[in-house]
């Protein structure tokens, strides 16, 4: 039971930030596609903006790994 809870916590640690990131990236990506279509030179900036929310998932992943390795 305890293991299941830990696994669930780890899953949450990844999935919640993943959903949040997906939402943010969808909005940023859509705006970014519009901008790049008109001004290709902004491509680099858009990649950076698009990449910013991704950090949430990476941190979530690290937390999940820590949870599993420390407690499971």
């Amino acid at each position: 039971m305890e293991k299941a809870l830990i696994a669930f916590a780890a899953a949450l640690a990844v999935s919640v930030p993943a959903i949040a990131t997906a939402y943010a990236q969808a909005k940023i990506g859509s705006a970014g596609a519009g901008t790049v279509a008109e001004k290709p030179e902004t491509g680099g900036t858009i990649i950076i903006l698009e990449a910013i929310p991704e950090t949430m998932v990476i941190l979530g992943f690290v937390v999940a790994i820590m949870l599993i390795l420390q407690f499971a």
Binding site: K27, I28, S30, G32, A33, G34, T35, E38
Partner: protein
């Protein structure tokens, strides 16, 4: 017209649309450019347009538009403006598409008014005027009306042949003109038909963007009502001023009861800077009031980056740019001094 009545069940794509518009917005001309162009020649203006966003239409005019520079420039500007607006509108999805159609169909309203006035005059027609080509019913339709329908009855018949809601509205206005013989009544029919149509389309939608569109329609109603308020008894049908309902700031009570502009605008929500000081002619006040309506739209450009505000502000600026460039072209062709041309421009910074 494929643009017309896009499905509003689709999700609006404001992020994409506004990003495209904001990127395109950087190509709008600064006021210094207008000053420079006003100080040059018509040929300079054509060369400038050749390398601007109007380039493709300018090239088309050079190729098949004949030898008059003014004709080429005016046509290139009208067609170029339509390209910009129609192409941008084609990117809008869901309710954004519908809202953009409202903005575009303002052109049908203006084209329709031109035709009604020409029908009333009943004159033999020369070359068609420069239509607002971003209209929903299509320029060919208005051209056809101009060339072949010399009176209200012909106009009404031609409109009813066209399968387009905007044509039907104009058809009804033509019928009103045919039945009453009154231009103001027929124009009112066109306006009220147009406003009712769009209010009906917007009815089922909800949210801040719809409220903004309703405000847009309300402010437009105010401009009509103000022009009616200015009319003297002789211009009216049975001596009665018939105001349109659904105004934004000018209530029917005030419109009926007020005798002065100060009274009319008090607490209306409109910021009227031109009321103080010397009283100007009605036509000048009306023109300035329409300018305020434009300015209100233009200011929305930076207001809500995830709403229809950006589109509305952009459309207003594109139209303003067209108006200014046309004014410069006309001024230069008549050898009007640069300072005088500049005085008549509606500059982006104002």
């Amino acid at each position: 017209m494929t643009l017309f009545l896009k499905s509003t069940t689709e999700s609006p794509n404001y992020e994409y649309l506004n990003a495209v518009i904001r990127a395109r917005g950087t190509k709008l001309l600064e006021q210094e450019v207008f000053f420079t162009l006003a100080g040059g020649t018509l040929e300079d203006l054509e060369l400038f347009l050749l390398e601007s966003v109007y380039g493709i239409r300018c090239r088309e005019q050079l190729a098949i538009g004949g030898s008059s520079v003014l004709f080429r420039v005016e046509n290139a500007l009208a067609a170029g403006t339509a390209d910009i607006l129609l192409e941008t509108a084609s990117l809008a999805r869901g309710e954004a598409g519908l809202f953009f159609d409202v903005l575009l169909s303002m052109a049908d309203l203006e084209n329709g008014r031109l035709l009604l006035r020409a029908s009333r005059a009943g004159e033999a027609r020369g070359k068609p005027p420069l239509w607002r080509m971003y209209c929903v019913a299509g320029t060919a339709f208005y051209d056809d009306l101009w060339k072949k329908c010399f009176n209200a009855a012909d106009g009404a018949i031609r409109c009813h042949e066209e399968e387009n809601p905007m044509a039907s509205l104009l058809g009804e206005a033509y019928r009103t003109l045919y039945e009453t013989g009154s231009l103001s009544v027929s124009e009112r029919a066109l306006y009220s038909g147009w406003l009712d149509y769009w209010r009906e389309q917007l009815g089922p939608l909800k949210g801040t963007n719809v409220r903004l569109m309703e405000e847009y329609l309300g402010r437009l109603t105010d401009t009509w009502n103000l022009s009616t308020w200015f009319r003297s008894g002789t211009e009216l049908e049975h001596g009665v001023r018939s105001f349109l309902r659904g105004g934004w700031g000018l209530s029917p009570l005030k419109l009926e009861g007020c005798a002065t502009l100060e009274c009319l605008f008090e607490g209306s929500g409109w910021e009227i800077p031109f009321l103080s000081g010397q009283r100007e002619a009605n036509s000048v006040v009306l023109r300035k009031f329409q300018g305020l309506f434009h300015l209100w739209q233009k200011r929305l450009y930076r207001k809500d980056l995830l709403g229809i505000h950006v589109s509305m502000g952009y459309a207003a600026q594109v139209q303003l740019e067209w108006a200014n460039l046309s004014m410069i072209a006309a001024g230069l062709s008549l050898n009007i001094p640069s300072a005088e041309i500049v005085r008549h421009l509606l500059l982006p910074g104002e």
